[in-house]
Symmetry: C2
Subunit: 340 residues, 2 copies
DNA sequence: GATATAATTGTAAGCGGTTACTATTTTATA
DNA sequence: TATAAAATAGTAACCGCTTACAATTATATC
């Protein structure tokens, strides 16, 4: 593989000139430029980004830590990130940390020793511990999908408001006994999606003066089977829900199947509302009413922010809250209309 | 950020010794090792993978070119790759090329100038052109999901046999007028999934002496809406299918909806079989009968192969064909039994 | 034509590691 | 104790690039 010296020699110039040509420096004569380009072509020379990174202490690489790329939510976020990075000539190193603290720390250290210019971190938890690990390492950081009180930029949606909107919609459709399938609430302490969403749910219920039944609040794992099991339990209980709010589309799908399998109909007997608006939400029957998250944009905006920070450009707002949207399809029915 | 010189100075040894300590070289005295480790800790030193890569001409990085990570098939493949890479201390640079030749070439060149140790390439097409581009660049390469006659390792499933099995299953259930929703056949020239699968379909039909109706062969785009449209067209034609074989689960889902929307039932009126076995296949109703591809393993095996090649280890077989599996759920009915 | 100024180009010192080779110290052996 | 062999440590070149600084050449000005 030809290197810069080979090109310099063949073009009869110094390596500095070769470097200048490949960095579009203005101070190169047309003659020199041409002979360098010619020599480079002849040798099949391409500058080594690696060597350049070392010399410039800038890798044009960003690290990406997500729980699991095979989860459609994250793969959409990652796609948004990669598209933006591609535009700005950055590349991404993908890390699946499975929400494991150990793996996260391990990946952070690896990324640091690879001199990534910055990291986009997306995890269920952003704890004090992780905060300090990042702080110690002094790596530019943007949080995706997770807010924090620390002085770290993030891009999220307003999960509480989103859940409030979803719940309010159910209530507006005449539902009263509303069940919830949530994720880990972790003692309601940390700022995780499920906690915010659960508060949003409670807000709406309280506002409407509706009773929240403990039997209708089920914890699950954001997987289809989990949603299925949670709904099944709920249906076997004493209090029958007339609607269920699942904190993810996947769990909602599971819940719908549980309803079918119990010999009931969705939405006629029980309405279901999901969260995320994955592609599959409009593909299944009944098409899923859900709260849309702008997943692609969460990634895209986070990437833009990080790149701006890396380039020392001002970012207008460190805390970006993107809009969610209620997508009404067929999995919720109007109970009031039904009665008439 | 402390570097190797700082550590050497503080520990009162040479940089060579520091390097040896961090590379677990046997020829370092216990005393020297300790003082180096102590100094390193004091300075918060971590060797720079970047500098090491330059010196050793080995980056422990592999490039990953896929069409689109937000497609669940690919995100599963990528997860398999990353897991294996993680085990062997490799990291991956993720590239979404959208099956665009330009983007692919661009990414290949970028990866090369980043000195990746190898590339896993997954694209709908592996043409002569791309083959020569890789060959010119002399980068270790493994193809995922795509076979080739060139001397390049790959890991695939037997698409033709898989489609044959699926079709044969439909036939065994008494279906006679079988429709197909396929992807781009590209003049039946290149070895793309759809072509192989289509041949498999024809094999089975021929073997059973069944007529293949042109009106029941529809091209689509591997998307839900595409599957929907294709099925809709098919249902409006003169020949009514009693079963449809969609070359992806996503298209199958679309087709099922088209059936519903036409006032028909699946599987009672029309059976549907898909391809892939995405998670969602078992979540929807009717649960989808489909041909399972070992997506995670395609990725995992490809990664293992590539790493072996990079490490100059013998690989037992350059052409790996993983097993597919027919997953029977509820979207196909037995027509013969039905008639009785 | 002399001189100031601007445009080009080259030299060489990093960036932070690895490692061949050499030098030194220890330990084993006779 | 002398000597050979083994273990340990250091020196410095190298990986391929960027860039401050110095040097050279071209162009403009008087």
């Amino acid at each position: 593989m030809a290197n810069i010296d080979d090109v310099a020699k063949l073009a009869n110039v110094s390596t500095a000139t070769v470097s200048r040509v490949f960095n579009n420096s203005p101070y190169v004569s047309e003659k020199a430029r041409e002979s360098v380009l010619k020599a480079a072509k002849e040798l099949g020379y391409e500058p080594s980004i690696l060597a350049r990174s070392l010399a410039m202490k800038k890798t044009n690489t960003i690290g990406l830590i997500v729980p699991d790329i095979s989860n459609p939510y994250y793969s959409e976020v990652v796609r948004g990130i990669e598209d933006v990075c591609n535009i700005y000539k950055y590349n991404i190193i993908l890390c699946n940390a499975d929400n494991s603290r150990d793996k996260e720390v391990q990946y952070i250290d690896m990324l640091k020793s690879r001199w990534v210019d910055g990291i986009i971190f997306h995890s269920d938890y952003f704890s004090d511990e992780i905060y300090h690990i990042f702080k110690d390492r002094k790596i530019p950081l943007v949080l995706a999908g997770r807010a924090t009180n620390y002085d770290i930029p993030y891009v999220v949606i307003d999960n509480r408001k989103a859940a409030y909107d979803a719940t309010k919609y159910l209530i507006s459709q005449g539902h009263k006994k509303i069940g919830v399938i949530h994720g880990n609430l972790n003692g309601m302490k940390e700022t995780v999606d499920s906690v915010d969403r659960f508060y949003g749910f409670l807000d709406a219920m309280k506002e409407a003066g509706l009773k929240v039944y403990d039997e209708l609040i089920k914890e699950s794992n954001f997987k289809a089977k989990g949603g299925y099991m949670a709904a099944k339990e709920m249906l076997m209980g004493n209090v029958k829900p007339d609607a269920i709010f699942a904190f993810s589309d996947i769990m909602a799908m599971g819940a719908i199947n549980a309803i079918f399998d119990a010999g009931l109909k969705c939405p006629e007997d029980i309405s279901i509302i999901g969260f995320d608006n994955l592609d599959l939400a409009e593909v299944t029957r009944p098409a899923l009413t859900t709260v849309a998250q702008p997943m692609y944009d969460i990634g895209a905006v986070a990437a833009r922010m990080l790149i701006k920070i890396i380039d020392n450009k001002k970012i207008s707002e460190k805390r970006v809250i993107l809009k969610h949207r209620l997508i009404i399809r067929q999995s919720c029915i109007n109970r009031d209309a039904q009665k008439i």
